[in-house]
Symmetry: C2
Subunit: 384 residues, 2 copies
Amino acid sequence: MDICERSVGISRYRDPAISPGDLTTSLVAVVTDAQRRGRRVIGYGFASVGRYAQGGLIRERFARRLLAAQPGDIVTDAGDNLDPYRAWSVMMAGEKPGGHGERCVAVGALDMALWDAAAKVAGLPLYRLLAQRLRLEVSAADVAVYASGGYPYPDHDLQSLTDEIRCFADLGFTSAKIKIGGAGLAEDLRRVEAAAGAIGGFDRLAVDAVNRYGQRAAHAAATALAPLQLGWFEDICDPLDFATLAAVANEYPPPIAAGEALFSESEAVLLDRYAGLRRNHDILLFDPVHCYGLPGYLRIIDRLTGTGWPRTAFWPHGGHLFSLHLVAALGLGGAEITPLAFHPFCGPPPTLPVTAGTMPVPEIPGVGFEIHQEAYEAFRSLTE
Amino acid sequence: MDICERSVGISRYRDPAISPGDLTTSLVAVVTDAQRRGRRVIGYGFASVGRYAQGGLIRERFARRLLAAQPGDIVTDAGDNLDPYRAWSVMMAGEKPGGHGERCVAVGALDMALWDAAAKVAGLPLYRLLAQRLRLEVSAADVAVYASGGYPYPDHDLQSLTDEIRCFADLGFTSAKIKIGGAGLAEDLRRVEAAAGAIGGFDRLAVDAVNRYGQRAAHAAATALAPLQLGWFEDICDPLDFATLAAVANEYPPPIAAGEALFSESEAVLLDRYAGLRRNHDILLFDPVHCYGLPGYLRIIDRLTGTGWPRTAFWPHGGHLFSLHLVAALGLGGAEITPLAFHPFCGPPPTLPVTAGTMPVPEIPGVGFEIHQEAYEAFRSLTE
């Protein structure tokens, strides 16, 4: 096995010349010694979007442990494939409790590549491999999706925002999410109105405050937004400020979404216990890639479904094609797609058109990056 | 300014041939363009002990931001010294809420080096610079310390443990801390008895369960240990498992210590709110180096003293010479010293002898690594 890794910049805007910021993500390739159709099987993964690249932790800690493992430690009992669960245990050996940041992203990027490789070796789309391993019935290979974007534009914000959301609708999306919290409540309400008009209704629009509000600002925003009955109100305050979240949940009847910036089972349990969320209609955004990959994410799902959350409450942040498979295999609510932002991971690819807010899961072996031209080119450059 | 960094392995044992594990830490040197006594001022820092080295994050994210800053962004208004607070803001620019792991350690290592450099430029021991900047009265430059170690030995554990604790007593320590939770309660009680005998009483001995216990094991250990009236019972369960901690606090009257594996103000607030700790006699172990350095640690102190915790409840984990200065400047309870473990940061150096459980703070400019021969040699090799 060989592991290649590279950090790349990613932009929140279709035109990266607009305020690209310094966002980065990690691309990884796990080169196996298995052959399929005369070529070595290579698994691809990336560190999702919205946090930072993890090149140092991947190279210095987690890829190093994988590469130092005995083959028997990371393959199935039958020896015929990688076992991503065993590989995960190898990566996590010696990791201490607590401190759920950064390393969880590094592990998640490698975990995605390991699952991609294992599904390719098995000759199955990832969601079918997952269904097999987890003994789940897979109903449909179409999953609900929504279009995410709507970052503030430095110029002509309302017009550019409206154009962006119309583009989402033209692509087949029936719901969208935009950012708020940066420019004052009056301006946010103008953005919400413009975006809701472009997507076809307030109930089709979610807003994401990017963890910006303190207790008072959260109360003011909740009061202003409640009458609109938006799709959901996301990332309201500091992700660990459960007191503010509980106060909002107590006064804001429409759905609240949380969890994008929580990265572990331990934090998920605290959110469930102390944030006052309503299990019957609030939304959980944990990013599987940021939560130590699939094994970490499954622990969160198991723990929270155990306290009464339905699987349909889970709408994984980021991860895109990988998350589509998880949504399909695990019967989750749906997945986030960023149609224009975060090149080369913007989507959907032309071969997976969105129709009335649903999207087919790639049916080729693995995650399916090979049918996403921009992503595939970025991954291929890792090993060329 | 130039920044050098290197990862080094560190061992829990005086003899690193005994089960060294794969613990690492980062050494950093901030080379300034200031001159003192004809030489460039160099600030030294390290990533404390107990987590991992952070070379990748230091190089790829935080040192990069410092090196890209305009000089005006990281110096005082007068322009006569580095301003570690401003440098901290530069390092943290763009960092998102949540995800308090790894990055907090990288920032803390660099922050230590920045404070060391700033104190050297000012010609003051760090604790005096801190007292100046924070407008605090410094009463004494002697601080309470305890000796930490007592990891299980693979052979002749009880005898080796007893020898180790006697060595602590011979060095002048009057209290010690050992690890439990690895080998079963009966064996732990034998270790506790041996160590207490060697240090001079159960009340002089603290035990650290290294976050190992679940709810049931925590209850069993608390029941067995309560009659001994130990100095404190530390890191009982997963650091975010506040329910278990609260259950123990409810049934275990002697002091409990927590917080070593929490790394942020947000987590500290949750600990205070949900873990049932007793502000009048429990102990807070947050490691300043692991909590985003001094600015992050001060936020924790401010927040928790605001809810009624006395400053004397804070006994910072790790960090050693750096923590001595914080204890002296901020009037905290005391500091942890690892007399034998974690070479080259084992202590105390011969010029800072421990007397009846207290230790002088280095009086030379900076943190004082220059009087700790082993640490200084390790740091010097960064720039040679």
